[in-house]
Amino acid sequence: MQQIFNFIFKNSNRLLFLLLLCISFLLTIQSHSYHRSKVISSANFLSGGVYQQINDVSEYLNLRTENEALALENARLKSILFNKKDTSYLKKMDSIVGIPADDILVSKVIHNSYNVHENYLTLNSGSNDGVKQDMGVVNNLGIVGIIDNTSPKFATVVSILNIKSQINAKIKKSNHFGSLVWNGKSTGFVQLIDVPRLASVRKGDTIVTGGQSVIFPENINIGTIHKIYIDNKTNYYTLDIKLFNDMTNLGHVYIIKSKNREELNNLEKRNTNE
């Protein structure tokens, strides 16, 4: 017994180091796994509050650009209102058509990261406002990401600039779909993989969200095709997509609540149970 205590006292530093190393390593591995819900995230009282304070200050510096963006969107909405008969125009411009207004929640990005491989955003609305995991986040230009963790007042978002994110997307004119992923290289570009070779793709074609996911409604803008590769291993196309969004400069975003999701999930669960 005495020797055990002696050993512990002699190596107390090393044991402390190993214990803490195990804890931090577990946290690291846990955060890299594909199954969601991290143990620690910036959606909490401390960091959310600090980011809110920082954002309140930095908001003033962006007032001009924010105003310009709002004016542009206003003009677009007005043109939709005035030209209601012109349906083809409406369909092209209004990307969140078909969603009732009470299913959209306006929120603000209070912390944005884009310099690592796994990027997360922090929003200033949380479960008190009805935000739940797996809701889609978009802005007026295109998709932004998917809600990951929520606290009463704040929420974190898995950005599309995250190598773990995978979103169903399709080519607007032909309905061929693939998975939208990010290779971790440039903040302006994401990749659409597994597009069948039958699809006729051309540089400049628009990519929108596909109808297969419950998270995003169909036909939300993502970007345009920038480069086309043929994957040697799989014989599928890999497309470089230039995003409409500037992910390094995000202000207000919309969170999409989907009422049908629970119904669909229940249905799919029933199918697997039987």
Binding site: F17, T28, S42, G184
Partner: protein, 168 residues
Amino acid sequence: MNSTLLSNIFRFILLLAVQIVIFNNMTFLGFIMPLPYILFIILYPVNGNRSGLILASFALGFIMDVFLNSGGTHATACLVLAYIRPSIFKFSFGISYEYQTIKLNDVLTPERFSFILLSVVVHHFTLFLLEAFQISFFLDILIRALLSAVFTIISCIIIIYLIKPNKR
């Protein structure tokens, strides 16, 4: 004794605040971020309590992880740096470093510079390795770690010169 403890706590909070408010928003070329908060581990007294340093650096990294949504990568990198700090001391100041009076926040000498350089490189390499967590990104990790290390060292040296106690 009490004043060193207090100054350490003060430094801990101040460096974290500066890192989160200013340096987290400073990104060069989209992916290089200076991380001068590890100055806390570098400037910790040479003969100070070692388990205290290990605990403090874990807390330091953990708070950074909470703010940056990075899992446990900063905590691990800080722990590794805190644990091998004596070996880096031995390498840059010679074997009998414990009997010298080493003051790190002073004029830059080759020994002090090599200590800061090695600490920053060790920390950044661990950090970016864990952040990518895939060996296929190895070249990317190396470039990110080295470029970020350059900016961290520059910001560290600037901060050391700014907070250097005035002798006049």
